[in-house]
Symmetry: C3
Subunit: 108 residues, 3 copies
Amino acid sequence: MKLIIAIVHDDDSNKLVEKLTEANFGITKLASTGGFLKSGNTTLLVGTKEEKIDEVISIIKNVCKTRKEITTTSPMIGDNANFIPIPIEVVVGGATIFVVDIERFEKA
Amino acid sequence: MKLIIAIVHDDDSNKLVEKLTEANFGITKLASTGGFLKSGNTTLLVGTKEEKIDEVISIIKNVCKTRKEITTTSPMIGDNANFIPIPIEVVVGGATIFVVDIERFEKA
Amino acid sequence: MKLIIAIVHDDDSNKLVEKLTEANFGITKLASTGGFLKSGNTTLLVGTKEEKIDEVISIIKNVCKTRKEITTTSPMIGDNANFIPIPIEVVVGGATIFVVDIERFEKA
Ligand code: NI
Ligand code: NI
Ligand code: NI
């Protein structure tokens, strides 16, 4: 038995929980708070058999992969008249995945 | 030193914290959020010596064991007149318990 | 790769996140709730290479070390007239630190 601790961006967490649930993995979602981190994170706990780890990691990487998105700059307040929106590229997504060995596993 | 990560139903968490505290175990309670899970969960962290693990697990299983409760159905809104409450059996409780080895343990 | 799970008092958590971030450690801050614990705690997850563990633990111990502070008693409500504030010593801070081995570490 292994425990996968995955730290993902809030934006990706609902889709990830959905995909992992569809694949029959049991998930616990912990609320992470921002601190000095740039944006909100969600920490997921997934307990699974060793032979299923690759499947879980592959689902996480697929949903949460770092990708570039085009967004446009917003005008400063009070500076709307001559504002020309400029498309900028932002990096979204990303996940940090830790796999921990479980010495003992019990269900009540 | 071992770390016990226990995921329990919100309903059972206060009683469990009380019982573990009475037995002198130090507990950290993390807020879990629902996601696609049916109801709210609480994740507890309990650090303990190897020889006390059975005691912790036995307390968790005792407080959180899956049990059946009889509840009655509620009338749909606007459909009260002819409503006959039907007793239904629901499963409550349950816990998922992971035991992890701690390589190093420090107190500040 | 190791995962450091540190449970610290809320009062110390912002300074600790700041110090760890300055030292280039990636941190995830989980919201802990009180339960029967006397005051609020924050649980931090820090993933790091084995050779950096001492540095992380030393930063945590430095920021969160148990120390005594002098506070003064507050008058009971309705009992202000003859109240003489008495300085009392309270213990603040403290941290519980667990180091867990990470079998596999992945970034998406
Ligand atoms: Ni990110
Ligand atoms: Ni359950
Ligand atoms: Ni304390």
